[in-house]
Symmetry: C2
Subunit: 515 residues, 2 copies
């Protein structure tokens, strides 16, 4: 990065101070990327007995990073810069960097190191308990851990953003600028559209059959080669990343040239790994598209989880389930899986990808019901954080709400409240970003289609460079300098709304179900 | 650990200070184990473009660990404890812990953080350059990196142990208490025995044929199951460890219950992976046998690389190439590799494991010539550190010496000075510990055979628990409280000598070659 753009002209050492502040923040980011390696390794490589020591390592590293991020010398530098002409008259990058580094610092400096260490340890321990609790569907194994995590999260909320109510203080970590009352207003129309859409699909006499993709022979070795080819083709750079196997797929960035995605494999089902990898590679494309020169600093960081999710969902659902994509992909798939797909027409494969079917598990949910899973979690976690629901009341509240929304009750907690790792990992206020991401993706895709009328023809030939270039320019290039709403508005020319997602779901699934 | 054994009775807060010093040292060890993860991941998982950021991470972590290890508050605690009655009248564990923590602190405090960071960065960069240099046999690619590393190592030597000459200051990092003049005296008789032994083997009309093991069909998948079974059987605990694939096999400990070994695979050669894994699992058994309660503190740490190597070589060569071992292992191997081994008599397999054949590459060397490879490196690196040989002169000096010792000249630097990663990794003073380990292993094994006359019968049944229990008790349990010479002397009742290794090589290879 060139940290002396305008700073030099501002006199009084503004340039030096700005460079020093950036160096300091970048060091903290480098150490945070070591923390990320601990997490990736825990999910993919850690021997069974290695858990307790990993918790020690995570707690120590969290403390190291926190101390660096809240170093008083950095606070003084940032306070000086925030009062300097550079904070208002610098380049947009300088102005934004100073504003965000200062806000980050102030927020983190209000959280005591003791709490950061306690959270790191409690969440590693809770995640380890969660693995066991979910495997045996034993809520009581997880309960004390989850009570501790929620209690620490409330403490964190009160420390870091005393100006916000506790849930907004946590939500703001993942979706800067978002407030829950506004999120509820956005989700309302979506819920009003999705509930009847699910019902109509369920009652339609035309029902896509997905068994040719989910109950047939897809040898795992062939899948591995196939999905790697697809991920490379859409632009994921394996020189700067890798693909591994985990029970829960994720994307983790360990450095500017080290982005790691994971998936799981099912020898009878192609969509499990294929859409898992399209999703995680979508996250990876965002990370690989960030400005390397500003790695670890606001101009080179992802702006929010909602925008992150918009990138993964756009590739997974809006590209990956499109007719154009399958015009390119179908011959490839038929060659890779001849026993199951040779001679099957493309149209049958494509319609098998547009099934709506209520189910208990979020990560297996179809694109339409998915948002109902998210809203349930958003409402429950908010109730816990705002003190309206005790942690111990979660299983019953979950099952009641699930029955209302989906018309069926989870048979056990493994199919209910125990299914997600998020709360055990301390990710509270995170769930709503999934549906925000779906909204952003639909709105971005509508703008892309307006801007690029020939896109379908490109995709049908397996050419994704124009689409990726648009995302690089309109989304990735901004880093954190634009918050999600502003970014989507700038990219699409429209203010954020769930109406695009509603139309997208109605159009595509309405057609598949003959509604 | 119970850090209050006698400390409580010493009054004046000795117990509290001892516990605080242990806590502090253990925190540094936990963070050092995060550094170890960076190294393991770099060798096994890092995407091709991830190197430069890994160097940043390694440098930052090295600085974090160094700052913690040289924290003046810890220095004051240790100085106080060293002057307290606990340092002389405490339990042996307390006395030893105080002595070693104090010596470690003093040594590290003399090295500036700037130098630690520079070394971390220079060695990561040199290792990355080495990969390319070796692949293209281009010494000039590595030379500037190696000059920088040797220069920094000389600086480190001068800082950390001003009381020792530069080479001893580095050797002492790996083999505490060892001095090069004494090592030369030990190596002399070994060299005097090995050179004629190699010659005699080469001239013998009886020559074991190893092609049935090194040029036959050993499918890699079958090898993976086979060597895992063997490693488990000798006692390596896969709940507390794992086995991965790397070009250069190694063993890395990332925590008290996280010991990772690696190997490489050759579908035509069984010994490559089998003896690689026996070797690394031998290291792993030592690590897994250390006192978990004292993890990260001297009573729970390996005492030296020589002792470490004695454990790996004992399992690899003295167990793994024995008749008794193959009485157990042969039926297993014949079942795993029927195409190559079914119907082949055990005696033929066993004699194929005792081949002496001069070759260019140390890691492929047989047990006898191996020590000549080590002595060559020991003499050359010492000459560089002591200023008697410029780094630029290494290739020629290497080739000249190699020709003298082995009767053949390396065809290129990839088969000569570029073959090992050690110097690039900053491991200067490390090589002699390989042959010290061979000496210790032979001396320990002689004592074991005296103490356990029925050992061969046990091993022939695949029972290794008595042998492992002896090693746990006589070697692993001491941690760093005994230095290598004292440990070997206590375990064997004899002072350290290379005569045991000489006899062991002469007896076993003499028999194989009919000398």
């Amino acid at each position: 990065m060139d940290t002396t753009e305008n700073a030099g002209a501002m006199g009084s050492g503004a340039g030096d101070r700005f460079a020093a502040a950036c160096r300091h923040a970048r060091r903290a980011s480098v150490l945070a990327s070591v923390e990320a390696l601990l997490g990736w390794d825990e999910q993919t490589m850690l021997p069974p007995a290695g858990g307790p020591h990993r918790a020690d390592q995570a707690a120590e590293m969290a403390a190291v990073v926190h101390r660096l991020r809240t170093d008083p010398a950095q606070g003084e530098r940032l306070a000086w810069l925030a009062d300097s002409p550079l904070a208002t008259d610098g380049s947009p990058t300088e102005v934004g960097t100073i504003r965000l580094l200062k806000a980050d610092f102030d927020k983190q400096a209000r959280v005591p190191t003791r709490l950061v260490e306690a959270l790191a340890r409690a969440t590693v321990e809770a995640q380890q308990a969660w693995v066991e609790a979910r495997a045996s569907s034993s809520w009581s194994l997880l309960l004390p851990h989850l009570e501790r995590v929620f209690s620490l999260k409330r403490e964190q909320a009160a420390c870091q953003r005393p100006d916000l109510d506790p849930y907004d203080a946590l939500l703001d970590d993942y979706e800067p600028g978002a407030r829950w009352r506004e999120v509820i207003q956005r989700f309302g129309p979506l819920r009003d559209a999705v509930v009847p859409l699910v019902k109509a699909c369920g009652e339609s006499r035309r029902r896509p059959d997905d068994s040719l993709l989910t109950d047939a022979d897809f040898p795992v070795d062939a899948q591995k080669a196939f999905v790697r080819e697809v991920a490379s083709r859409i632009g994921f750079d394996f020189e700067r990343g890798r693909l591994d196997t985990t029970e829960h797929p994720f994307c983790s960035t360990l450095g500017p040239d080290d982005c790691r995605i994971t998936t799981r494999w099912n020898g009878r089902s192609l969509p499990t790994a294929l859409f898992g990898v399209l999703h995680e590679a979508g996250h990876g494309l965002y990370e690989q598209g960030l400005n390397r020169e500003w790695y670890g600093l606001p101009p080179g960081e992802a702006t929010s989880l909602g925008i992150h999710e918009s990138q993964s969902r756009l590739w997974e659902n809006l590209v990956g389930r499109s007719t154009a994509f399958w015009e390119w992909c179908h011959p490839l798939a038929a060659a890779a899986f001849p026993a199951s797909l040779r001679g099957v027409p493309m149209s049958r494969v494509h319609e098998a990808l547009l099934v709506v079917r209520p189910s208990f598990i979020r990560v297996e949910a179809d694109e339409v019901t998915y948002n109902l899973h998210v809203m349930l979690r958003f409402d429950l976690e908010r109730a816990v954080v705002l003190g309206e629901l005790p942690v111990a009341g979660l299983p019953e509240a979950w099952n009641d709400r699930f029955e209302r929304d989906f018309g069926m009750r989870p048979p056990d907690d493994a199919h209910g409240v125990l299914q997600d790792i998020h709360w055990s990992a301390g990710l509270v206020g995170y769930f709503p970003t999934y549906t925000l991401g779906n909204m952003f993706a639909a709105q971005l895709m509508a703008a892309i289609e307006r801007a690029m009328p020939g896109l379908d023809r490109e995709i049908a030939k397996g050419r994704f460079t124009d689409l990726l270039a648009w995302l690089r320019r309109q989304v990735h290039a901004h880093g954190r300098l634009l918050e999600s709403d502003a970014l989507v508005a700038a990219a699409t020319g429209e203010s954020v709304s769930s109406s695009w997602l509603v139309s997208s779901l109605r159009n595509r699934y309405g057609a598949a179900y003959g509604l």
